[in-house]
């Protein structure tokens, strides 16, 4: 049963990186560039944001700001999962590689799998799991890039559609609070309006506005309840 669950997660990851490879191809990036981004960035949303902002003509600074805002969520993930790997003898430098691997899939899998692993072997286990997932994603990136280049247009379009579909649905699935749901709905609804302004930072304006409104509703509801 546990292997089935991991298969489904890996499948979603595979589809996501097929889409990222295809998106990079159609936004005119090189294969080496997008493989480098999978290895170094190792976070689907940040890679999509990087490729689509740079691809639509944003400057490196605008892209960097959008990427860093999307990456803040990695901070609480790292904070919550590292204590599972530590022993009294663990030095900070032993955790650097494991920390790099932490993204949403590995984070979920760590919670599921680490308790079954003896504590002193958990860092090595995380390295193995991270390398395995990374290999799967590198293959998917290459495949997506190649397919986008060689398939008839209708199937190339289908692979490009994987990105918005997989991210929309996995984000919707991860919604826990009213603020998450509102942020998703308002974020989609506001972008078309803000993009009319052609500011160059449309994504940031719509994202910060929608996210703050969503948080405001959450805050107001909590206060009303208290």
């Amino acid at each position: 049963m546990s292997s089935v669950a991991s298969t489904v997660l890996t499948l979603v990851l595979f589809a996501t990186y097929l889409g990222i490879g295809a998106l990079a191809h159609d936004s005119h990036f090189s294969l080496g560039w997008v493989l480098g981004s999978t290895l170094l960035v190792w976070a689907g949303p940040a890679q999509i944001i990087l490729i689509s902002t740079l691809g639509s003509g944003a400057t490196a600074v605008q892209a960097a700001i959008a990427v860093t805002v999307s990456a803040i969520r990695l901070f609480p993930m790292v904070v919550s999962v590292l204590p599972l790997m530590k022993t009294p003898q663990t030095k900070r430098r032993h955790l650097v590689v494991a920390t790099h691997f932490i993204a949403v899939t590995l984070w979920v899998e760590c919670y599921r799998l680490l308790p079954k692993v003896p504590r002193e072997r958990r860092i090595a286990f995380t390295h193995g799991l991270g390398c395995g997932l990374l290999t799967v994603c590198m293959v998917a990136t290459t495949l997506g890039y190649g397919l986008a280049a060689n398939l008839p247009p209708v199937f190339a379009a289908a692979i490009l559609l994987l990105t918005p579909l997989a991210f929309l649905l996995s984000t919707a699935r991860n919604c826990r609070q009213i603020s998450d749901i509102l942020a998703l709905v308002l974020g989609i609804a506001l972008f078309p309006l803000v993009s009319q302004l052609h500011t160059g930072v449309d994504i940031l304006i719509s994202g910060v506005t929608a996210g703050t409104i969503a948080y405001g509703v959450h805050w107001w509801r909590q206060r009303a309840r208290a």
């Binding site: 295809a22 159609d26 990036f29 090189s30 080496g32 560039w33 981004s37 170094l40 960035v41 999509i48 944001i49 990087l50 689509s52 740079l54 639509s56 892209a63 960097a64 959008a66 990427v67 860093t68 990456a71 803040i72 901070f75 609480p76 790292v78 904070v79 650097v96 932490i102 986008a148 247009p153 199937f155 190339a156 379009a157 289908a158 490009l160 559609l161 918005p164 997989a166 991210f167 984000t171 919707a172 998450d180 942020a183 998703l184 308002l186 974020g187 989609i188 506001l190 803000v194 993009s195 449309d202 994504i203 940031l204 719509s206 994202g207 910060v208 929608a210 703050t212 969503a214 959450h218």
Partner: protein, 114 residues
């Protein structure tokens, strides 16, 4: 090899605009993580903004689609995603059902329209 990696300038942008702004939060978690409460209000706001930014990017890909996706009529793109979302909800939040359903609507729709 140079064709594989493209221009050095693009790789530099990858590191400066992609790798560093992303990785800094992981390393911050490693260095300063001990004293932060996972359920704190700031993190609720951060998660809402990060979700909304990603939602905006999803909207951007559908509204201003890259490459081959631009060859699909607007209505069909929106319809395929809406159908995928509906199936996802009907199938008790199954991502697999939603993705497959949306893709079938796109390919079948394109074939139907010729």
């Amino acid at each position: 090899m140079s064709e594989f990696f493209g221009s050095p300038h693009a790789l530099l942008i990858l590191v400066l605009a992609g790798f560093l702004p992303n990785e800094v939060w992981r390393m911050a978690g490693l260095w300063f993580g001990a004293g932060v409460d996972e359920g704190s209000e700031v993190l609720v706001w951060v998660r809402a903004v990060a979700t909304a930014i990603l939602a905006g990017v999803i909207a951007q890909i559908l509204l201003q689609p890259p490459g081959a996706l631009a060859g699909v009529p607007d209505g069909l793109r929106y319809g395929a995603v809406a159908a995928g979302f509906a199936l996802f909800m009907l199938a008790r939040r199954s991502i697999f059902a939603g993705v497959v359903g949306g893709e079938i609507v796109l390919v079948a729709g394109k074939w139907w329209l010729g």
